[in-house]
């Protein structure tokens, strides 16, 4: 059986550049061919790869729709009888074990889990108003934080990075119940100054200082902000909540589930199911039912105003339609999500990442947001692992 990796790219230079980067990482680390599927007429500049497949997509589709069209149609585009691994363009081949991913294949398809669950993802797949509602309150809270913590508005790259590092450390210090307990115990037992690595908190002023004595962050009372904005403060979870009990900073709704049921008559029986991530998956071009169903359902939402143009909502629908909701997934080592917006991610010198206190040796990393951002420390460190 033939084996190959495949990328899909279409349209904007940003995506073409991203592919250039991830292709280079993969090329250095795989023995297998890498296909690139594109609609060349749409690309902002011409691209050239050894196994380039050019497919003309209906011109009524925008570039984003065209990419999704190609991705969910790969079973018809690639040669038959091929075991293929699809990779998003923001996925980097992290070590020389990448070819072992083919051994992870469990028919008919094998996906990796997403970094969040269905309720959290929901408002990113359908056009409900939840995201906007959350955003309004987040803006209000963030505005209050900015007023109280003047350092959060700093444009100084040094302060930005120091703040990020501090937040990562605090997140790591609270990554388990035991650690959290230890954190607060240390806090309460310390007299005037509370220390985490090189950072020092002056307890009376609630100001954080870095090793060189520069103030970088003002602790603010979220409880006070909640009260000021007429929101709820949950003391146990230490979070600000809307009147209905949903956390302001965690997306949470059932609208995707409801839309899947109303549009496709597919019932999702587990309200907060661990859905799949479409960034890395294995499929076989001889087994078309799954991919074709995904493709067909996805085309149906392109013109539906209730749905956002994404393939992941219809991926959920496809899985449940075919009864594969308990099908095995790839472990996170095959799609370790490195999100700019998530605190507490550390890259070690041995190539492992520490996330929420757990050390993981990934094979592929999935760089969410700020791919290629050289002002992001972690991205710069990732670059030091780039194969020569």
């Amino acid at each position: 059986m033939n084996r190959a990796f495949v990328f899909v790219v279409c349209g904007a230079a940003e995506h073409l550049n991203m592919l250039k980067e991830s292709y280079a990482w993969l090329l250095a680390r795989t023995q297998y061919p890498i296909f690139v599927v594109t609609d060349s007429k749409r690309n902002e500049y011409p691209i050239d790869y050894p196994n380039l497949i050019d497919v003309k997509v209906d011109s009524s589709f925008n570039h984003h729709q065209a990419s999704i069209y190609l991705k969910t149609y790969l079973h018809r585009i690639l040669p038959s009888n091929m075991l293929a691994v699809y990779l998003d363009s923001d996925i980097l081949a992290w070590n020389d074990n990448v070819d072992k991913i083919f051994d992870e294949y469990v028919s008919p398809v094998t996906f990796a889990p997403d970094h969040c669950k269905l309720k959290q993802f929901s408002s990113y797949a359908v056009n409900c108003k939840c995201l906007e509602t959350f955003q309004i309150f987040r803006n209000l809270v963030e505005h209050e934080i900015k007023i109280n913590d003047i350092y959060s508005q700093s444009n100084d790259i040094f302060i930005i990075n120091q703040r990020r590092l501090l937040m990562d450390l605090v997140a790591n210090e609270k990554s388990s119940l035991l650690k959290k307990f230890r954190f607060y115990l240390r806090y309460f037992l310390s007299l005037r100054r509370f220390k985490i690595n090189e950072f020092i908190l002056d307890k009376s002023s609630q100001l954080w200082y870095d090793a060189s004595g520069h103030a970088i962050m003002q602790n603010v009372s979220l409880k006070k902000i909640a009260h000021k904005l007429n929101l709820r403060w949950n003391i146990l979870k230490q979070e600000i909540q809307l009147a209905d009990g949903r956390a302001v900073f965690v997306d949470n709704c059932d609208h995707l589930k409801e839309n899947i049921e109303s549009k496709f008559s597919i019932r999702i029986k587990q309200a907060n199911w661990q859905h799949w991530n479409g960034g890395v998956f294995l499929f076989h071009t001889g087994q078309n039912l799954f991919m074709q169903t995904w493709h067909d359902l996805t085309l149906q939402i392109f013109s539906d105003p209730n749905w956002k143009i994404r393939d992941q909502g219809t991926l959920v629908a496809t899985v449940w339609k075919l009864g594969l909701q308990n099908h095995p997934m790839l472990s996170k080592t095959w799609n370790l999500i490195i999100d700019y917006n998530t605190s507490g991610i550390f890259l070690q010198d041995d190539g492992s990442f520490i996330i929420k206190g757990v050390k993981i040796f990934p094979n592929f990393i999935h760089v969410y947001h700020h791919f290629g951002d050289t002002s992001w420390d972690l991205w710069n460190k990732i670059q030091t692992f780039k194969p020569k």
Binding site: E104, Y105, S107, Q287, L322, G323, L324, S331, I360
Partner: protein, 593 residues
């Protein structure tokens, strides 16, 4: 009860020798007869091992085919309503050539298609190969009484009653499922549809799998969900209905051309069955029990009382001790690590019974239906401080609290995320599930009483995955069929339709069974506390055996668990965690060589 299997290939020709190996691997499930079918194009093959109860003539031979030879069927188990279905189908013009329940599947499939399983009552796992439509349909009974596994790679598909049948073909490359090791340690079993092998699956209970032989892909669908209601029926009326349905179910379970015996533990569940067989159905019963020497609480003494009072013929074996070494032998039968502590006594009682009969009835399911487990009682909730109990009067526990309670009730040496992190070596940590108990979320139902939620979890997980698997493999190891009358779906639906106040009393054990047995068995049977079928705890505290097996075992040698963690368990004499590790080690030694 039988063994079934099949191999389907997209490209290669199916090798007859592979099917033969599969058949041999499942021989213990059906030593009476064997059959094989290979399609004309040699891309599909079915095998069957028969343990015969009905129509002992060659007419019951399987794989059985339709008249036009386009449909081929293999069945493991019993369809108890096959006579009614047969009449229904005959009225629709179907012509039968045998007296078997298997033939009902052929005509039923032709008539009702994929809706066939909904019409069936019983314990079954079947496969229907429809060559005309290039389709294979697999089905499994509502509660998972009969097992069915399937495996799949891009160009071959397999199914069998036991995993060893699939592996015996030598076509499939075993890939261990590292996450499943965590699931096993956390739950004592590996939840469906997963198995210890990454590419082998359990067909979940109450599910059908439709396999497209051209596209080589499958779809799964669930055909039955227990129907819940909160009907506040009068207690006497409810009991009469329960009594009637149980007798009806029991008589169906006794249909066979050979005598059926009964397991008898001396508890109320099996005692009820023996009493009803002897007294209500006038069925001369042979009852089988296991006792433990030198143990005051050994149940055989109670079983003897029940046998005497009901007039059943009684056979018992008294064990000196539990030979934990036998676990290794059992791991071959179980195919997967499974850490129910009654696997050894169940194996022993099955051996005893098979010396006298081919099939027995057993009381599984009664505790799930009637609220008989200790974790059903509100006073035993793990978070039940006096204060929390007061709170719970006004603020009912939510699903997450019920789930936590259930996890603690099931754990026997809890392996939660943090414990697994300490125990497992680094390769396994990459595959560690965030929530090793997440399969319980599949059975969440909001707005129902806590007891009902617990009963649902029991039916879908503890009973389905652990108890019934244990019973099937232990009995099949001795070619003994075990039938479970409490799990007739009409009876289950009826009990689940009742409000808990009708059948449950937290201060009393299973009131319906007490009513049934009152004045028919000695009072001591009715009033003694519930006891598991496990023997004394001290049998499982063999620390020298644990140390000897584990310290130099494969789990340490192959870097599955950390030695430091093991030493800590041994120092703390943490016998339940050691028991699970011991089972895993025994499985590893048998299957990972």
């Amino acid at each position: 009860m039988c063994g079934i299997g099949g191999v389907f290939s997209k490209e290669l020709l199916v090798d007859e020798r592979a099917l033969q190996r599969m058949s041999i691997a499942l021989k213990h499930r059906g030593p009476d007869d064997e059959g094989m079918y290979i399609s004309e194009n040699k891309r599909s093959g079915l095998i069957h091992r028969r343990l015969s109860f009905l129509d002992l003539t060659p007419a019951g031979h399987q794989p059985m085919n339709s008249e036009d030879a386009s449909i081929h069927v293999v069945l493991n188990g019993e369809i108890y309503n096959f006579k009614q279905l047969r009449e229904e189908l005959q009225a629709l013009g179907c012509v039968f050539k045998s007296q078997t329940d298997t033939e009902v599947l052929i005509h039923g499939y032709k008539t009702w298609g994929n809706n066939l399983p909904e019409k069936l009552s019983g314990m079954f796992a079947f496969a229907i190969l429809d060559e005309k439509n290039h389709k294979l349909l697999l089905g499994r009974d509502r509660f998972g009484i009969k097992p069915l596994y399937f495996a799949f790679d891009s160009s071959m598909f397999f199914f069998a009653s036991e995993i060893k049948g699939i592996l015996a073909t030598n076509y499939l490359r075993k890939k261990i499922n590292l996450t499943a090791v965590s699931w096993f340690l956390a739950n004592r079993y590996i939840p469906s549809p997963h198995s210890i092998w990454k590419n082998v699956f359990k067909l979940p209970a109450a599910h059908c799998l439709e396999f497209d032989l051209i596209d080589f892909t499958y779809t799964l669908h669930c055909y039955y969900t227990p129907k819940l209601n909160m009907h506040r029926m009068n207690v006497n009326e409810a009991f009469e209905n329960f009594h009637h349905l149980l007798i009806q179910s029991l008589s169906q379970h006794l249909i066979a051309d050979v005598p059926i015996g009964s397991f008898l533990s001396g508890g109320m569940d099996s005692s009820s069955l023996v009493y009803l067989m002897q007294k209500s159905l006038n069925y001369p019963t042979q009852a089988f029990s296991i006792g433990f020497k030198g143990w005051n609480e050994s149940e055989h003494q109670y079983a003897e009382m029940v046998a005497k009072s009901t007039g059943a013929a009684w056979y018992a074996e008294i064990l000196d001790s539990i030979q934990l070494d036998d676990v290794k032998k059992l791991m071959w039968h179980y195919d997967e690590p499974i850490a129910d502590i009654s696997i050894l006594p169940t194996y022993a009682v099955s051996e005893l019974a098979r010396g006298h009969v081919k099939a027995v009835v057993s009381g599984e399911g009664a505790d799930e239906l009637l609220g008989g487990y200790w974790w059903h009682k509100p006073q035993n909730f793990y978070y039940s401080s006096v204060f929390q109990r007061w709170i719970s009067l006004v603020n009912k526990p939510n699903f997450n609290q019920v789930k936590q309670h259930y996890i603690h009730a099931m754990s026997m040496g809890l392996f939660n995320y943090d414990e697994l992190k300490q125990c497992l070596a680094s390769e396994f940590l990459n595959e560690l599930p965030d929530d090793p108990f997440c399969h319980l979320d599949n059975f969440r139902q909001d707005g129902i009483p806590v007891l009902k939620q617990l009963q649902l979890l029991d039916l879908h997980t503890f009973m389905n995955e652990l108890i019934l698997t244990k019973v099937d493999r232990a009995s099949m190891a001795h070619s003994l069929e075990v039938r479970v009358p409490f799990l007739d779906h009409t009876l289950v639906d009826f009990m689940l339709s009742l409000h808990p106040n009708v059948y449950f009393n937290s201060a009393d054990q299973k009131p319906f069974l007490k009513l049934l047995l009152k004045n028919h068995v000695p009072d001591v049977i009715l009033n003694r506390p519930k006891q598991g079928f496990v023997g004394p705890d001290k049998f499982y505290m063999n620390y020298s055996l644990y140390a000897q097996t584990l310290l130099h075992g494969e789990l340490i040698n192959q870097g599955v668990i950390k030695k430091l963690y093991l030493q800590k368990c041994l120092e703390k004499k943490d016998h339940w965690r050691l028991w699970k590790l011991f089972v895993l080690e025994s499985w590893w030694q048998v299957w990972m060589k």
